[in-house]
Each structure stands twice: as C-alpha cells, then as structure tokens.
C-alpha cells in the first residue's frame, strides 16, 4: 500500500542550534517528536542520541546552525527526519570524517559515524568554506 515511495511531511519545526544549551533543547524536541511518531523507548533513545551528536558538531565545528525536525510518512510507515544545516567551514575530507575515531577536536571521533549507525537513513553534504548539511531519519517499523 505504498504511495509510490513519496515522502509526506506531516509536521515540521525548526530550532536554532547555536549554544550548548541548544543541544539540550534539541534532545528534548527530538524526544517529543519521536514520542509523537509512536517510537518505542529504544528507537527514541537512538534517535535522540544521534541528534545530540550532530547538534554538538553543528555548535562546535559548524559555527552554529539550524535543525529542522519533521514527522514524515512514506506509504504506511511513519518516521522522524532531522536536517541539520550550518554555514560553517565545512568538512574537507568527508570520507575520513565518517570513520570511527577520526576527530579534529579531541573528541571520541564517533559523532558522524555513530549517528549514522543509529539511523535508518543518513546523508551528508559539505562544501568547504560554505557549510554542511546532515540529514538523518529513523522509521517506526
């Protein structure tokens, strides 16, 4: 009964991601949307943790940006899609950035690769000097 695989957005909200307080706000907002979309506790936790990782990257490396949280539908399945965008310096070596343990800031280097593992869908676009956009989604099965 899929509608040809097209994505329908049921609800969306945008929040600023500029300070470490915003990272906490991001977690709360994503948690609320995940609950709304009917996620169980484990799926909620995975999504919020992934969001926390990317939000922190946006604040620490991206110079601050925005997060668009959307509850989406594709056919009969429902999910939450997160789009983080910043106009920061961008990532020069995307491939390296996506490997475990790679970090330019003394972190654990798990941010991007970890978030990808916690998501059902993950994509990243980055132009050095222009900015970075990370889109990830998790579906309720």
């Amino acid at each position: 009964m899929t509608q040809g695989g097209c994505l329908v957005v049921d609800k969306g909200e945008t929040i600023a991601v500029r300070t470490s307080d915003d990272v906490v706000r991001v977690r709360q907002a994503v948690r609320a949307r995940a609950i709304e979309a009917g996620f169980g506790i484990v799926d909620q936790t995975k999504l919020v943790t992934a969001a926390s990782e990317i939000a922190r990257n946006t604040v620490d490396y991206g110079g601050g940006g925005t997060l668009l949280i959307e509850i989406v539908r594709e056919g009969t399945r429902r999910g939450v899609q997160l789009t983080f965008a910043d106009n920061g310096p961008g990532i020069v070596d995307l491939k390296a950035a996506m490997t475990d343990g790679y970090t330019t800031g003394g972190g654990l280097g798990l941010g991007l690769s970890g978030a990808k593992r916690l998501s059902n869908e993950f994509s990243i676009e980055s132009v050095p000097g222009k900015g970075t956009t990370v889109t990830l989604a998790r579906w309720k099965l």
């Binding site: 936790t45 919020v48 916690l118």
Partner: protein, 127 residues
Amino acid sequence: MAEIPVLKIGDCLLVSIQVDMHDRLAMELQDDLTNRIVSERARGVMIDISALEIVDSFIGRMLNNIAAMSRVLDAVTVVVGMRPAVAITLVELGLSLTGVRTALNVDKGLALIRKAIDDPGGVLGRR
C-alpha cells in the same frame, strides 16, 4: 562550584546525575570530582546515571576521563544504573567505557568498590 551535588560516603564519592547536562556542566563536574578525590582522599567514585535518558559520545568521554583521572589518583570508578535503552544505544554507537566498571545499582556499586579497594590483586597489582 558545580550544580551537581557530590556526596561523600566513607571513602567514596557519590555523584547522582539527575539533569540533562549541557557541556559546561559536564566539564565542571569532571573538574569538581577530580578536585574532591584529592581533597577528600577518596578511594572510590560512584556515578549514578539511572536518571540519564541519553548518554552520547560527549558524556561517554566525560565518564572515561573521570575514570582515567581517578585511576591516576588510585581511586576506582564505578558507573551504576545505566538504563537498558541507553546500553543498547551505546553498543550501537560503538562507544566503549574504558577503565569504567559498571554495576546495576548503588548498593552493588559500593560492594564493587569495596572489593576493588580491599582486594586489588597485590599492593601494586593490576586492576
């Protein structure tokens, strides 16, 4: 002074993290604990995370740092009360807590610390 209270039970320090911490608070806790281990001559540090709904790589790094620093000061670190959903997520995330012992709750955590302090496998033994 950190907003997260640190209690002293015998020669152990007990921290119960109740709030969703922002990064600055986490760093303050890390500093505060390290100072207190020295000032109180603590042999054990117990971190109760039963109220934490999320442990991301930043918090993970904080826990690892605390464990590393306390080890240098000859104290044992035990993390207690991790929620199932958090544990499952951490495994998926690929985060390992190195040098951190874990226990199900505060009671077992204290017992674990006791055992580690009283029976470390020789005076200069490896843990």
